[in-house]
Amino acid sequence: MTDVGTVGREPLVALDHVDKWFGQLHVLQDINLVIGRGEVVVVIGPSGSGKSTLCRAINRLETIDKGTIALDGQPLPQEGKALAQLRAEVGMVFQSFNLFAHKTILENVMLGPVKVRKQPKADAEKRARELLDRVGVGHQAEKYPAQLSGGQQQRVAIARALAMEPKVMLFDEPTSALDPEMIKEVLDVMVDLARGGMTMVVVTHEMGFARTAGDRVVFMADGRIVEENTPEEFFDNPRSERAKDFLSKILKH
């Protein structure tokens, strides 16, 4: 195991010998991964390699069959209130935004703080407006998700996750459902977050982002972590055949 990135960092998320099956399919195979506080880990790999499953396992949207996952030293709770509490500490941004369609942008961001964190409405609104301003959609606060562009919706989704003051943010291909001209506005917000010291796990094929903001690249194939390295080393000198093959394919585009 290389320790790129985690050196000198306090571990925040720790996956230890994690295995998961979907029926016969062994989607996560003996995954060992430690993510340090403030670290930005970019997960990359071919379709079906288990990247989403890995992300979803970290906030237990998927259960695992073997091994342990710990957040801040605590193993993930099995279910109930404790699990909900854990999820509140882990922000998640999905490929398809998943904003609440019947609520305004402002309400989307306020819902978690008010219902889960039991914050007073006025405080939650003040904070939500700050976050919306920060991601550049403050002037859209009263609109509904369907009235916003994809890029705007994804920035709202980031604000909604940030409103919970998470310890770590998970991004599962946050820009792959976006039109090219909107990708940058979302990546800019993410780069900002990374600079601000947020711990992030980002599944993406955006090499620019990985190089600018990533501390470490984790390359997955067939449910395994095949290679880990700094972004520069990984993209310039991939060591494994799988990674070389994969990079040659995505670089052609």
């Binding site: 906030n59 949207l61 109930g80 209130k81 909900a84 509490q85 854990l86 999820r87 509140a88 500490e89 882990v90 922000g91 998640m92 999905f94 398809s96 935004f97 998943n98 904003l99 609440f100 369609a101 019947h102 819902l111 978690g112 219902k115 889960v116 509904y144 998700p145 369907a146 009235q147 989704a157 909604r160 996750a161 919970m164």
Partner: protein, 217 residues
Amino acid sequence: MNEVFSNFDLVLRAFWLTVQIAALSGVVSLVLGTVLVAMRIGPIGVLRQFATTYVTLVRNTPLLVVFIFIFIAAPNVGWFVHTPFLLKGVIAVSLYTSTFVCEALRSGINAVPVGQAEAARAIGMTFSQNLAHVVLPQAFRASVPPLGSTMIAMTKNTSVAAVFGLMEATGRMRFFTNRHADDAVGILIVFAVGYIVIVELISLASYGLERRWRAAR
């Protein structure tokens, strides 16, 4: 006919009773139906099983049989013995209608993208918070047309109560037709118009809700 119009207060009172049964049953069956659907999609196996069995059983039972159960069978074993007729009617209609409400809501829930429920879980909402704030509000909106039809069917179903002596609209209509068989057609028309007015009001409310909620996104 003259008989009907000179006793028009009886007609109005009968329809008022119909409206009362329908309104009370509407509220109770919406609440019961929501509870049933929450059980059906919930994480607790026993409740899921119970709700599924209940819906299958009651939905496939003729309403008349449900009425017989509440009005005749139940009092025989000591239940609902002193319950007023109006309330017993409401109980029978609600037990029956809630299964249709449950099914209408279930189709509405299927129309809510799973990603939204997942996003709600990801910000730390519990199952019931997720239902209350994310899934059900949207499921209700998506279910307005089938729920409207269910409420209309329910309103007409309240007429079964006439069999058990409640002088609601259908009961009163039979009272008139029994006495003035020669005027049966005219009497039928008067009462049909009454039902049409009520049903149209429900339709209008349903369209109104549908339009308002479609606008708000």
